[in-house]
């Protein structure tokens, strides 16, 4: 009987510790999350652009083809219009191919693509003396996966401004 009461008391104490102790153990509430103060960025004073930049867009080709695709001619026309406007800008047209096919044939194909673009631009009225061509064949891919999507991105002509 006495043993029992001792057990009860102990149990009671343990319970008490639990009940009262628990809140004690809870860690103090974390410091309030300080909302990241917006760093005061001084808005850069936007210089009014004196000369708008020329932005020539890459044109893409079909596999083993160098003709200007119908869906690319609008792009190329836009490039031509810009070149008309920025008559002091000379360019290099860089022809590229996807990795399929031999390196040598792709070198020749890349050159043909670049020259097809040159012909388009010169027929549009851009002086051919402002444009030079260069082929990289399959040597400079922009995308290195081996799928059709990637191949398409690599079959292209890029426009490099020459100062």
């Amino acid at each position: 009987m006495r043993k029992n009461s001792v057990v009860l008391i102990v149990a009671f104490l343990v319970l008490a510790v639990f009940i009262t102790g628990c809140p004690k153990k809870t860690p103090p509430p974390p410091p309030p999350v300080v909302a990241p103060t917006q760093p005061v960025i001084e808005e850069p004073v936007v210089e009014p652009k004196i000369e708008p930049k020329i932005e020539l867009r890459t044109v893409y080709f079909d596999y083993d083809k160098y003709n200007i695709r119908a869906d690319q001619s609008a792009r190329l026309t836009d490039n031509a219009e810009q070149l008309m406007k920025f008559s002091n800008v000379n360019i290099i047209v860089e022809g590229h191919c996807d990795e399929r096919g031999t390196e040598e044939y792709n070198m020749a194909l890349g050159e043909k693509r670049a020259r097809a673009v040159l012909n388009f631009l010169s027929e549009y009225g851009i002086a051919a003396t402002r444009i030079s061509t260069r082929s990289f064949g399959e040597e400079r891919p922009v995308c290195k996966e081996t799928d059709d999507n990637c191949y398409q991105l690599n079959r292209r002509c890029e426009f490099i401004e020459v100062k």
Partner: protein, 438 residues
């Protein structure tokens, strides 16, 4: 009697090699059963006391000799684990009865000696049945050249057996990205060993090709922005620019007399073939096709004709013309993309890259007649180039991921991978060499 019979076999092989292409064709397709069954036991040290430190060297060099000889489509090297006799160097110890169990025709016995600075190897090639000598020679080289010395031995044994030197002393030039993003030219032995860098373009180098003397390499490099044609003298370690017309100046092929290079450059806004005099720089235009690409030329071994690629039919196909640019005829009709032809040094066949339903594959076509034979099927396979023996082809394949170099027999058998590091492309097999040894 036996040696006589053996000589008759050899004579037959020799004839097959030299005269009758048709016969050689049959021999080659017979790869595996081979013509001469050869045993090449490990060489034995001349002295008992040479020291076990040399055991590994001897084992390695013996294995190199076996692999060199196994490379020949005319020699069937018997698996060394089957040899009934090992450790003999005296032909009188050859036991024909024991060797008949592995059906050996001939045996190479080698004795190895070294003073640490030089190695000397005594080689004897014997008929197994009669123990008669077929070939015997002593070799010596500095220790660092030991592997190449074994290549020399293999070529000499090949000559003794078939009448024609092997290709173990040849080298392969190729383009590699192993040093980073840039593509530069490297040269390695025929088995891929001892690769060394040749160019340091800091840009891109393309399609090397050997001069017939094996002393110079032509290639296309972007080092001055435009893809120009260069020639590199391997012994003088000197590079000169040979053609730098605007647009790609793509190296193609040296004429067999070494005087000119047929290459492609831009003319009339389009890639055309030119013959360039290496000494004077004079050029002769060979093709006049403003609407189509012409490139990838390769000389016939006679130097009278050139095989090349043209897309004048609407797709790239292989054509042959004479060196004046006339008498042009189309060679390939199967498939809509055939390119990168290389004319066999034997003159009878042309290998090229063909696009098939299973990707790019290597095809071989007989110059005079017949349909193409596709000799690869796994992954994409490109850039085939004949070995100077006309029995082997080096090519690139992405069958294991990145493009690597492989060699094979021209029927597609015995494929061996010879590169591992970086991506490796555009292989060109050197002419035959004879190394000089110190």
């Amino acid at each position: 009697m036996m040696i006589k019979r053996f000589k008759i076999i050899l004579l037959f092989v020799f004839c097959a090699v030299c005269f009758a292409q048709g016969d050689a064709y049959l021999k080659i397709t017979d790869v595996g059963s081979g013509v001469v069954r050869l045993a090449v036991p490990n060489m034995v040290p001349r002295l008992e006391g040479l020291g076990s430190a040399w055991d590994t060297t001897i084992t390695t060099l013996s294995a190199v000799l076996r692999e060199d000889l196994r490379f020949s489509p005319f020699i069937d090297v018997i698996d060394s684990s089957l040899y009934p006799q090992n450790g003999i160097s005296d032909p009188s110890k050859i036991d024909p009865f024991k060797w008949s169990s592995v059906n050996a025709h001939a045996i190479v016995l080698g004795q190895f000696d070294t003073d640490g600075r030089k190695v000397s190897i005594k080689i004897g090639l014997y008929s197994v049945n009669s123990r008669a000598k077929i070939f015997k020679q002593d070799y010596q080289a500095s220790t660092v050249q030991a592997r190449r010395l074994v290549h020399r031995i293999a070529d000499d044994i090949h000559k003794a057996l078939t009448g024609e030197e092997g290709v173990a002393q040849t080298q392969i030039a190729f383009v590699s990205t192993r040093a980073g993003e840039n593509k530069d030219i490297y040269i390695c032995d025929y088995d891929g060993f001892s690769p060394r860098r040749i160019t340091d373009s800091r840009s891109t180098v393309l399609s090397p090709d050997w001069s017939p003397g094996g002393d110079r390499l032509s290639y296309t490099s972007y080092k001055n922005d435009n893809p120009d044609l260069y020639v590199f003298d391997i012994y003088k370690d000197r590079e000169v620019v040979l053609a730098s017309h605007s647009g790609p100046n793509l190296t193609g092929s040296w004429s067999p007399d070494g005087r000119s290079i047929c290459y492609s450059r831009i003319a009339d806004s389009n890639s055309e073939l030119y013959l360039l005099d290496v000494r004077t720089g004079d050029e002769t235009r060979l093709t006049y096709t403003p609407l189509s690409i012409e490139n990838s030329p390769s000389f016939s071994p006679t130097g009278r004709e050139i095989v090349f690629t043209s897309d004048r039919s609407g797709t790239p196909q292989i054509y042959i013309m004479d060196v004046l640019g006339t008498h042009c005829r189309r060679v390939t009709y199967e498939g809509n993309y055939n390119d990168g032809a290389d004319w066999s040094p034997r003159g009878d066949k042309i290998c090229y890259t063909s696009r098939t339903d299973q990707g790019f594959q290597i095809a071989v076509i007989n110059v005079a007649y017949g349909d193409p034979v596709y000799i690869t099927s796994v992954g994409n396979n490109e850039n085939p180039y004949w070995a100077p023996d006309g029995y082997h082809i080096v090519f690139t394949s992405n069958r294991t991921g990145k493009y690597q170099l492989y060699t094979m027999n021209w029927d597609g058998s015995d494929v061996r991978r010879i590169t591992n590091s970086g991506a490796n492309t555009a292989p060109a097999w050197s002419p035959r060499y004879r190394w000089s040894f110190d």
